[in-house]
């Protein structure tokens, strides 16, 4: 894999395409559908994740005018994509430890999944990694922690602006310093 195709700023885009064991795609899709979001998501425990998802691809879809013979997938695939902070190797380790049993449930439906022992786990994902080529990271040069801190400042500032609106200049200054100068 060349970093040029997978890195934007300090963000890395990991794309992994694994073959699903025939007949397992429905059960896998139902499990993924049932995963909680927000803080309860298994991805919440994987430090440095900007955005990640799993998608069951059961066929290649073509929309448009007929262009002759259509290609189809022989076997369904599981797509895993993640944009995260920093280097690939530490992130694969974060996936291994952070996802816990969810990793086994998900990739256990895929051909050849070796479980979470090292180095087999990270070797498996690297073996099925493909270049991302083109990806979008809204804040590629900022880490997840940076973004969360900035959002907290933004919320604090909005809250302050609402409270402080209409204050005379000296009072506004005093209130601002009290809120933000610490």
């Amino acid at each position: 894999m060349s970093n040029a195709n997978n890195v934007f700023g300090q963000a890395y885009s990991l794309t992994v395409l694994t073959p699903i064991i025939d007949g397992h795609e429905t059960e896998l899709a139902e499990y993924l559908d049932g995963l909680p979001s927000g803080d309860e998501s298994p991805l919440a425990g994987v430090h440095g994740t900007h955005f990640a998802r799993w998608v069951v691809i059961d066929d290649v879809i073509y929309q448009g005018p007929d262009q002759g013979p259509r290609e189809h997938l022989q076997h369904p695939r599981l797509l895993f994509t993640s944009n995260f902070d920093g280097e690939l190797e530490p992130y694969l380790e974060a996936l291994r430890t952070g996802l816990g049993a969810s990793a086994d449930t998900i990739w256990g439906h895929c051909v050849g999944y070796p479980g979470r022992d090292e180095p087999a786990f990270s070797r498996y994902l690297r073996h099925h990694q493909i270049d991302s080529s083109l990806f979008f990271a809204a804040y590629g040069d900022r880490t997840v922690e940076d973004v969360k801190r900035s959002l907290a400042v933004r919320a604090q500032l909005i809250d302050f602006a609402l409270r402080a609106q209409g204050l005379a200049a000296p009072d506004l200054k005093a209130a601002f310093l009290q809120e933000f100068a610490a």
């Binding site: 933004r154 909005i158 609402l162």
Partner: protein, 449 residues
């Protein structure tokens, strides 16, 4: 230009009747073959989009929920061909629409949002007498045929001068539909680069005609059922007028330009309807009175929202050319609006009388998911598309999630309106299919067999 089969499209899809009264009757189908007989009879009464020489005193239109189509015992393949959001219904889409708290489906007026709402009969009328006469005719017909039960009804009544309950004149902007043969008003269609406008392709609203992608929109099968049809959203929105006025008055104490400009900034139009973009300093009755001017604006020269705030209601609901690609994507998210207020107005300065008043929001489109749900869920309830962060629409945003809820009014200095409380509560709603005349005939035949 694509010709529309106006004789086979229900009239309110193509044109607003501008009749001041509406009667909504919700029916449950208890017997499919009797319901078929009733559909067959009422089809002759349905007002179509055919041009009229004289405006009728009243007219009726009919729509069906998914539960209603299922109760007509259509073949399962036909039922399955309807879009997912329609099959699920509005109540099931509550989290996507922000219908939580007071607006949550468990707090809706029965039977809205349940499997008991099958058919909606909509009567529009010029006066009480005409409404009552038509209402009686419909109910007599139902009684005579049997197999149908009235489960709810609702009256809508326009307020003087076409205002809604918060005091804004409403109903200016409507998408101009290609081939409808109605007078063209600048600003209604799709924006072009040269500042002119063109009509929106009919397939954005009516099934069986090319849409903005130049293909026929996805439609249920067979074509005999779907062609000339449309999807309708019925949404009863209670307006807490006293709360809205109190929020506005309290905020205006800090807003140097005064309460009326603040009210205009929230909506993007002055209360009399003057677009802020055209007259940012004061209302201009001459603009309002001129159909060639009262909707003829874009946001091209106001990217920062100094005249019309980026978060103003009309700009969120129809961003025109202010989103990327010269607004081309906006053309895929337009709504035909046919709403009408209900309840009596709260007099100026009056205490909260706790009366039920608001608007029966109605909109028509080819895809409820792509049009109504997208506009409500992405543009009104979220700020992302406009880089407005967590800001929600002041009028119909749920003001839920992490606060404080505010609207930014750009200026030097900017003004922050908030913290906002929900002033509009959903009292119930339904997703409905509005068949063409051919579709009504199909339903009558299918359910009779």
């Amino acid at each position: 230009m694509t010709g529309l089969d106006l004789d086979r499209i229900q009239g309110f899809v193509v044109r607003g009747y501008r009749l001041p009264l509406a009667g909504f009757i919700f029916l449950r189908i208890d017997d499919a073959s009797r319901a078929a007989a009733w559909i067959s009879q009422v089809t002759n009464d349905v007002l179509t989009a055919a041009p009229w020489s004289q405006k009728p005193a009243s007219g009726v239109n009919i729509a069906f929920s998914y539960a209603g189509l299922a109760a007509l015992q259509l073949p399962s393949a036909t039922l399955a061909s309807f879009p997912e959001e329609f099959r699920l219904g509005m109540a099931a889409r509550a989290s996507l629409l922000g219908d939580d708290g007071e607006s949550a489906p468990e707090n809706w007026e029965a039977p809205l949002g349940t499997q008991d709402v099958h058919v909606l009969v909509m009567i529009s009328a010029a006066d009480r007498q005409a409404l009552n006469a038509h209402d009686r005719r419909i109910r007599d017909g139902i009684q005579r045929v049997g197999g149908l039960a009235v489960v709810a009804d609702q009256i809508g009544n326009a307020l003087p001068n076409n205002v809604e309950h918060f005091g804004y004149t409403d109903g200016f902007a409507q998408p101009e539909i290609e081939g409808a043969g109605l007078p063209s008003q600048p600003g209604d269609g799709a924006p072009l680069r040269d500042g002119k406008w063109r009509p929106i392709r009919a397939g954005e609203f009516i099934l069986g005609y090319p849409d903005e992608e130049n293909v026929e929109p996805e439609a249920p099968t067979p074509d005999a059922l779907s062609a000339n049809g449309s999807f309708l959203v019925y949404r009863k929105l209670h307006q807490d007028v006293a709360r809205f006025r109190a929020q506005l008055t309290a905020a205006a104490e800090l807003y140097p330009a005064g309460e009326e400009l603040l009210a205009a900034k929230i909506v993007g139009r002055w209360r009399d309807g003057t677009p802020l973009d055209l007259s940012p300093e004061q209302p201009d009755p001459a603009i309002v009175a001129d159909d060639h001017r009262n909707n003829a604006f874009s946001y091209a020269s106001d990217g920062d929202g100094l005249r019309c705030p980026v978060g103003a209601h009309v700009r969120r609901a129809n961003p025109r050319d202010s989103l990327p690609f010269e607004g081309k994507l906006v053309n895929r998210h337009r709504l035909i609006r046919r709403g009408i207020p209900y309840g009596e107005p709260l007099p100026d300065g009056a205490e909260d009388d706790k009366q039920d008043r608001g608007v029966i929001f109605l909109c028509l489109q080819a895809s409820i998911a792509r049009q109504f749900e997208f506009v409500q869920g992405q543009w009104l309830n979220r700020g992302n598309a406009f880089t407005l962060g967590e800001d929600q629409d002041v009028l119909v945003g749920p003001q839920d999630g992490p606060g404080p809820h505010k609207m930014t009014i750009p200026g030097n200095p900017p003004f922050f309106l908030g913290p906002l409380q929900r002033a509009v509560t959903v009292r119930g709603g339904e997703y409905l299919f509005v068949p063409g005349i051919n579709g009504l005939e199909f339903l009558a035949a299918a359910a009779a067999s």
